[in-house]
Each structure stands twice: as C-alpha cells, then as structure tokens.
C-alpha cells in the first residue's frame, strides 16, 4: 500500500518534468491525496504459446527512476506481472495484453517483459476503458533478442493514464516500440531506454491525435550509457480542436563512454485547427565526440494547402483529400509496424478522430 506521507516531493508544476502537465487533472496520482490500489489490470488474450510464461512475483525493479509517480507505483504494488519469453523462442504471432479500464479507484500496476537470449517476440498492449491508472512497465532484452512492442491508448474520454516504459537493451538486441495515443483525457507516457551491451538498438516511434481538451504527453529519454549502440526516435502527432495539447520531449544523453553512438530523433506535429497547441522539445546532450552521428529535428505546421489542391484538382473531394493527407502523414510510422490488423485499426482510429474534427 502506498503511504507516501512526506509531501515535499509533490510536484508544483514548476519542475522541468511537470511544467506542461495539468496536475489538477491527474486525480491525485502525483500527490499523496489518494491511495493507489494494487491491481494487475492487464489480462492476456488467448493462449500463451510454448516458451512463454506468465507469473505474478515479488521482484525488485531493474532500473532506477526519478519519476515520482513511478516511485508511488513501486511502493503500491506488491507483486508484478512477469511475462517471460524463453531463450531462442521465436514467436510468429503477437501476444496481446488487454486492459479494460479501472473501476474501483486509482490503480497502480507493474509489468516486466523479459526476453531470453535470441528470443523474438511481438507484444501488443491494448488500453481501453476509463479511470485513473499509473503503470510501470520494464523490458529486459537479453543478448541478440528482438522485441516489437506496440501500445495502444484507446481509453475512454475521462481516463487518466501515467506510465513509465523502460527498456534495458542487451548486446545486439533490438527494441522496436510504437506508442499510439488517441483516447483518454490525460495521457503521459515516459518511454525510456538504457543499454547493457554493444550493438544494441532502440527504435522508438509514436503517433498521437489530440482533439478537444485532450492532453497527450510523451517524454522520451534515451540514455546512451554504452558504446556502439543506436537509437532512432520518430513521433508524429495531429492536433485539432479547443485546448488540444500535445507535449513531446526528446532527451537523448550520450555519455562520455558511449563512443560509436548513432542517434537521430524527430518529432512532427500537424495543427489542424486554431486553439490546439503542440509543445516539442528535442534535447541532445553529448559528452563524447567519438560518435557515428547525432541529430534531431522538430517541426510543427499547418495543413499543406498545396497538397490538398493537388489531390482536389484530380477530382478528389476536399474532405477525402484531407483524410488522405493525414493518413499519409501517419503512414510513415504506422506502415512500419508490420502487423496488418494493428495498422488498419490505428488508421481507422485516426479516421474517426478526423471525422469528429470536421472543418
């Protein structure tokens, strides 16, 4: 049970990490005003294939964090959900984890996903329903393993979701993650990465679509703490309607020992109407010059009227032209996921957000 009696850590909103977040809408997740229920709300859909084990266990976190909400989650949760893919197991079908919201009160949840040496898997986490929820998810990738991770935020419009997703990537292992945020009232996700071996790589992608009043925040942190590792960050978002707000923070830290680092991060935002706001802050800190490459780019812009004109001049009605351009904008990321049903589902969600927006 969470008993964070000291209050001095409670964010005020002036801290760098919290300056964009609407604290008043977090339902008390960030202060000690509520007790977090320890509830493993994630359920596996269908049968687990051989070589995959699911258990509840008392286990210490693999990483350190300075995120206050994660600390609260850690003290609230007694047993974490552990999904283990044994060494050399290669799964050809994705594992689906599903959560249909929180009913009783603010909840905390911890999950660990472990891949043994040379294991290959795809894990898809579907978040639906409403309520207030804080989670920590850790990923541990042993040598040469490959994890494709997709998380879909399809919450109902009242949901508050704060999460930290931390990957520890071993030698020659690959972590390929796509975060899709469409539903919810406040969604704040911290996709973070560290390395534990050379030749390792992280691809952190994301798409988000914020409409009226939604706050969607993605704070990426890549810690290049090992030599010869690679990271690619690419997030794209569309915003429409009054007080739609997105925040993208891309912190990439290349330590003095991390020679041979190769990193690039990118964030693009498409503002579809007035009254929406996209904050985008790339931040690259480099402590060694012995790197392969490091770069970042961030753009926030309006609809390209020339693209619309081009499509319309071929007989395509304005509304359909808008839809094609937006789908095209997201396609760069979505089409790389490589799971047809998921790709179509995301595009359908984007279409229905768009139809809510209208003109």
């Amino acid at each position: 049970m969470s008993v964070l009696t000291t209050n001095y850590l409670t964010p005020t909103g002036r801290e760098e990490a919290w300056r964009f977040t609407p604290l008043a809408r977090l339902g008390g997740l960030h202060d000690a005003s509520v007790t977090l229920l320890d509830h493993p709300s994630l359920q596996v859909i269908g049968e687990l294939p051989t070589g995959v084990k699911l258990s509840q266990s008392v286990s210490a976190p693999l990483s350190t964090t300075d995120d206050l909400v994660t600390e609260r989650v850690r003290s609230a949760v007694s047993q974490e959900l552990v999904l283990e893919i044994a060494r050399d197991v290669e799964l050809d079908a994705p594992i689906y984890l599903h959560r249909s919201g929180v009913s009783t009160g603010p909840e905390a949840s911890r999950t660990l996903i472990k891949l043994g040496t040379h294991a290959r898997a795809t894990v898809i986490v579907e978040n639906t329903g409403g309520g207030i929820l804080a989670e920590e998810m850790e990923f541990s990738l042993d040598t040469g393993s490959h994890l494709t991770f997709v998380t879909l935020q399809e919450f109902e419009s009242d949901a508050v979701f704060l999460a930290r997703h931390h990957a520890i990537i071993g030698k020659d292992a690959q972590f390929v993650s796509t975060v899709v945020t469409i539903g919810g009232s406040v969604v704040r996700i911290l996709p973070t990465v560290e390395y534990s071996g050379q030749g390792s790589s992280a691809e952190l992608s994301g798409v988000y679509f914020a409409t009226d009043g939604q706050h969607q925040e993605h704070r990426i942190h890549v810690d290049h703490n090992f030599p010869h590792a690679k990271s690619r960050v690419n997030y794209k978002g569309a915003l429409a309607g009054n007080n739609a707000h997105s925040v993208w923070i891309g912190d990439v830290f290349i330590r003095a020992n991390a020679e041979g680092t190769d990193t690039y991060e990118l964030n693009r935002n498409l503002l579809l109407s007035d009254g929406a706001r996209a904050d985008s802050v790339p931040n690259l800190e480099i402590e060694t010059g012995e790197i392969v490459g490091a770069g970042h780019a961030s753009t926030t812009g309006r609809f390209d009227d020339e693209q619309l004109f081009y499509l319309e001049s071929r007989g395509i009605p304005a509304e359909l032209a808008r839809r094609l351009v937006i789908r095209g904008f997201f396609a760069e990321i979505v089409s790389k996921i490589g799971i047809e049903v998921i790709q179509e589902r995301i595009m359908d969600r984007i279409d229905s957000e768009l139809s809510k927006v209208g003109e």
Binding site: D305, Q307, L311, E312, S313, P317, V325, G328
Partner: protein
C-alpha cells in the same frame, strides 16, 4: 464536341503590398480535338492562367468568365472542375508523403468516373499506361511525387492524363526540365491520348522545342498577363528566331 471558353479574365494575387493584377483580360476559346500553344516569357502569367482555370485558392478572379460548354467553371469547387472534364498537368507537381501512387490514382479515377474501377481491368489499365510512359512498375508503390526526379514527375502527370481522360488538358511547362528522350516519351504519351480521344490541349511553354513533338493548331503569344498575338504554327517559328523581345518591350 466541347468548348472551353475564357473571356476577359482578370486575376489578382494577394501580395504584401496589396492585390497585384496578373492577368489583364485573357480571351481564349478551345474546342475538342484542338491543340493550342500558349507561349510567353517567364513571369508573363501563364501559370496564373492555368491555376485560375483549375481553381487554386491563391488566385482571385476580379472579372471575366470561364465556361465549359456553357457551364460556369469559376463557380465550381476544385474537384468539381476536374469532374467536369478539366485537367491540369502542373509545372511543379506536389509531393504527398505517405499516399501511394496506386492509392492516389485509384481514388482519383473513382472520383472522376463516379464509381470504383473494376479491379481486374484496372490493374492492367495502369500497367499499360505506365509501360507506355516508360515508367518502372515500382512507381506504383511510392508516395505521390516524393523523391521523383523532374522527369518522373512529368511522366506521372501524363499518366494521370491518360487514366482520367479529361475533355481538356492544360499542360503547364510539361517540357521544362526534360531531356530529349523524356520529352519524346512524354509527348508521345500526350499524342497517344489525343489519338484515342477528342482531347483539347492548352500547351503552355516557354520554348518551341516541345512543338516539334506535339503539333499545335494555334499559337498564342502571352505577355504581361494577356494574349498579344495569335496565329498558326508558323508563329512559333517566328518566336524561335526572334524571341519575345518585341512583345515584352511593346
């Protein structure tokens, strides 16, 4: 038999110093099957004429009319103009990231024809049209105009012309940036569409080069936002020799 009629067309664009008039009374009539060349120096307003007919929102029509078989083109939305049978091959085709050529062509053809093309015949139709323009089949999966070379963009414009089968096509400097081989292929593409239909063509160009491949019935010299001289193909020969100096300084 269709007629595209442009009468006393005046067009302005918004600039930082206020509205600037670019077209100052353009009169031009094109009938099905005819090819009209519009030739003029850079900045004379040729693209403005093309975009105004297609309905680009940047241009404000201050006077005059454009009709297609008596229908008021200027009252139509951009897509309606295309559906009524007008096509503009652009001087600078626009890149649309993430929208594949196949998807784009299918969507456009569906909109223009009013129904989705039959899957079986459609694939063949596209393949054949692409082969006719020496386009690699791999193009179909690429994003519209993204990373295309100048020549590839122009071929892609003519591919659309072949598939959309308009009544009138405005080709805005389709020849610019093409080497001799590409120019021949693109011209043959246009001539192929003409041979199989009653297409009327408004061929906008700066140079006479393309007129060796696509023979005009009429030549209009364009300067300072209006037609300043008209004649037959022989007028192009005169321009080849003397250039535009006479008209610009007139």
């Amino acid at each position: 038999m269709s007629t595209l009629e442009i009468k006393n067309l005046h067009v302005s664009v918004a600039t930082e110093e206020g509205f600037k008039e670019i077209l100052r009374g353009v009169d031009l009539t094109i009938k099905s099957g005819e090819t009209h060349a519009i030739m003029g120096p850079n900045g004379s307003g040729k693209s403005t004429l093309a975009y105004s007919i297609a309905g680009h929102p940047k241009y404000t029509i201050t006077d005059g009319s454009v009709t297609l078989d008596g229908q008021d083109v200027l009252a139509m939305s951009v897509d309606e103009r295309a559906k009524s049978g007008l096509f503009l091959a652009m001087q600078y085709p626009v890149e649309v990231p993430g929208v594949s050529v196949t998807n784009f062509l299918r969507t456009a053809v569906t909109a223009i024809r009013g129904e989705a093309p039959k899957v079986r015949t459609w694939v063949g139709e596209v393949k054949e049209a692409m082969a006719g323009l020496n386009m690699d089949p791999g193009f179909a999966e690429r994003s519209v105009n993204e990373g295309f070379s100048g020549g590839e963009k122009k071929r892609h414009e003519i591919l659309q012309l072949a598939l959309l089968k308009p009544k009138f096509a405005i080709l805005d400097e389709t020849d610019s940036g093409l080497d001799v081989d590409a120019l021949r292929i693109v011209s043959e593409g246009v001539n192929g569409v003409k041979a199989n239909s009653d297409l009327g063509v408004l061929l906008i160009t700066h140079y006479t080069r393309i007129l060796r491949y696509i023979k005009p019935d009429f030549v209009h010299v364009f300067a300072n936002g209006r037609v300043v001289e008209e004649g037959g193909p022989e007028l192009a020969d005169k321009l080849e020799e003397k250039g535009y100096a006479d008209y610009v300084n007139a």
